[in-house]
Amino acid sequence: MSTGNDHDHNLSPWDESFDRRSALVKAGGVGAVLALGGLAGASRATAGPAQNAGKVTAFFGQFGTIAEQEAIRKTILKGFKGDVDAVFAPLGTNVFVDRVRAEAKAGKGNIDLLIGLHGDFVTFQNEGLLRGLDTVTKQITTLPAPLVKIGKLGTKTQFYVPHSQATYVMVANKDVLKYMPKGANIDALTYGQVFAWAKAIRKGTGQSRFGLPGSDTGLLHRFTQGFLIPSFTGGFVTGFRSKEAVQAWTYMRQLWQFTHPQSVTYAFMQEPLLSGEVLLAWDHVARLKTALDQRPDDLVAFPVPKGPKARAYMPVIVGLGVPKNAPNPSGANALIKHLTTLSSQAQVLSLLGFFPVVRGQLSKRLSPGLLAEAAAVRKQQKAKDAVQALLPIGLAAEGANFNKVYQDTFRRIVRNNENIQTVLKEQGDLLQAIFEKTGAPCWAPDPPSGKNPCRVK
């Protein structure tokens, strides 16, 4: 369990908050430009070492769906000279962090390479479970400096090598563009305009066709956490009970009236977008990819809306790290090199929908749908009012309970129509308890809380 120790201070996201934030934006821009640039000669990109790297156990905290696992096993790992045992942590669990901890505790490691989120590596580093990766990082010359810096987690040592990045965008069927409010710019919508649009779609088509991924495996809680609430309140936690939060939830309750009722059964919005049940949606880029791939001419991707405080969005950075007790660290380094080649990065983009981090030219074989998605991501990152709301940091196993607070708040306010102030009061207490327990300080965009646990005001 991570506690508010000295390490936290070194690693806290606000230490260089300005730097980090601008770094993230720049880095994101790089990735999207790559995606747009078309990458010729991908296959001729620097390959891994010529020698066989032996048996390398790669543990994935991301890419856990069956289709993703298959793409990784059959294509992305195929050109690697070595025997990779790819292990995937089950979706929606904390197995990724738990197993790394358990191996460290047992004193005998089986895992060589970790593929996880920025926040996972913050947790691992806090607990001293990671090996430094300075040498291998220097050997990969195509990595952009801003992202390399993020992988140092505020220290002088490289703790993870950036691998890929993603975020969430909106997608509309071109049939409903005519219902967009007059004078609205699709690349710079406001929450008010999205509401008016969803309402007009219902009036025009006779059915609510705005959709959100609200099933248990959907990412609706990320919408409330990383988009809606920070856009209205400017943060995740501090403003949880504020007037602005009440406004945000009132907005959500009203928007839900014009949201497709089956939204509670949707996990990936690409499916209802393809079937036509939903004509306007928000979701993770990787969960919209199939729809954009299959119907690039009918669908359009665009940035998330802006609230009274900001155009908040959640960036997702996937990195590669090596546990301290990895049995084959040199094999892990070889696999890191393989996964950061241009050809491997291009495969990740086209098969998994996660954008590359390395510099270089992507091939023109990219589907038009992916190019459209990349353009939306870039516009979102470059928007002047964009604010990044980072995935939870330092919550470790309590991350699930953190999500549950937002899920339960949604259930009670939006679905059960309970009094907003009462619910925010009660859920705010639960939220505060999580921070007391973990000692986790605030992370961007909440204002820094020093070494102290983040506080709900």
Partner: protein, 298 residues
């Protein structure tokens, strides 16, 4: 005295050996049940009654009861049972009678009836969600034949009735055969003489069912309803596939607390509640549908 004792000694020894034999025969089963059912059950009681620090406490139960989903899970579980079990019993009984009538081609019915049993509950749930979803098979067919002009939303989370109907349809389709198999076996054990005698005395079909078959089938009915009720408290995958986060049941909450929220104590508390309800339901069925010893078929 001694001579009698000498004569009977080998007999009693042999008799005793015969009396002990059944216990030896059930020993493997007892060991198996002890290891894989009783021990985990004791463990889950232990988990439910401890908190994260390892001390004894009711905090897991308190968290469970205070949770936003608890009341809903409880009421939806009971609602499903009240709707599903009676309908399923009537259908299963009808299907069993149909098979037992030994009509031509009855074997084919048996195979058709058995098909859903071979499908996992999650797969069944997904198949039914493809049928019920707005752009699914059912709406396509209804629109095709002109019953409706625009797709109807069957999986509407704001309508409890529609949610229950969707889940009940899938569950009934999936597991009615299970009850039928038990009832069919029971029907075959009823000697034909009784039914024929009733027929000779002029009893019609319904009268025969009511006064001859039903009473003699009572032990099988008891087993069928008992098992079905216990399974109904464990229903889970079909509900998740058809309602998403729109409805929840006790077993689904137990799963979520274990897998998503990573709190084994609250998950165990849910499993203790499910166990308690199953036991209570079993007790009710055993008492209400009891068959006195003298009325049992031998």
């Amino acid at each position: 005295m001694t001579s009698i004792a000498e004569e009977t000694a080998p007999v009693t020894r042999r008799k005793r050996r015969w009396e002990v034999l059944p216990y030896w025969l059930i020993l493997p089963t007892v060991v198996y049940l002890g290891l894989f059912f009783v021990w985990p059950m004791i463990q889950s009681f232990g988990l439910a009654l401890r908190d994260e620090t390892g001390g004894w406490s009711f905090s897991a139960f308190r968290t469970m009861v205070d949770d936003a989903a608890f009341g809903e899970a409880m009421s939806f579980t009971f609602l499903l049972i009240l709707v599903i079990v009676p309908i399923q019993f009537v259908l299963a009984f009808g299907m069993a009678l149909l098979l037992n009538a030994k009509l031509r081609g009855a074997g084919i019915f048996l195979y058709i009836f058995l098909l859903p049993l071979a499908i996992s509950d999650l797969a069944a749930g997904i198949a039914w969600s493809a049928i019920f979803t707005e752009r699914g098979y059912l709406n396509t067919i209804l629109e095709g034949v002109g019953v409706i002009d625009q797709p109807h939303i069957f999986l509407d989370p704001t309508s409890r009735t529609q949610q229950v109907m969707a889940v009940a349809t899938a569950e009934i389709w999936r597991s009615t055969t299970f009850m039928m198999v038990i009832l069919f076996a029971g029907l075959q054990a009823i000697p034909r003489d009784y039914v024929e005698a009733a027929e000779v005395f002029g009893a019609g079909f319904l009268q025969r069912v009511r006064h001859v078959i039903m009473p003699m089938l009572k032990p099988s009915i008891q087993v069928a309803i008992l098992l079905r009720l216990i399974f109904a408290f464990e229903v889970f995958a079909v509900v998740i596939a058809l309602t998403g986060s729109g409805a929840t049941v006790l077993a689904a909450e137990a799963y979520k607390w274990q897998a998503t929220n990573q709190n084994e104590h609250v998950a165990a508390a849910y499993s203790v509640v499910i166990l308690g309800l199953s036991l209570a339901a079993a007790a009710v069925v055993l008492v209400v549908l009891r068959t006195p010893r003298e009325r049992r078929l031998r």
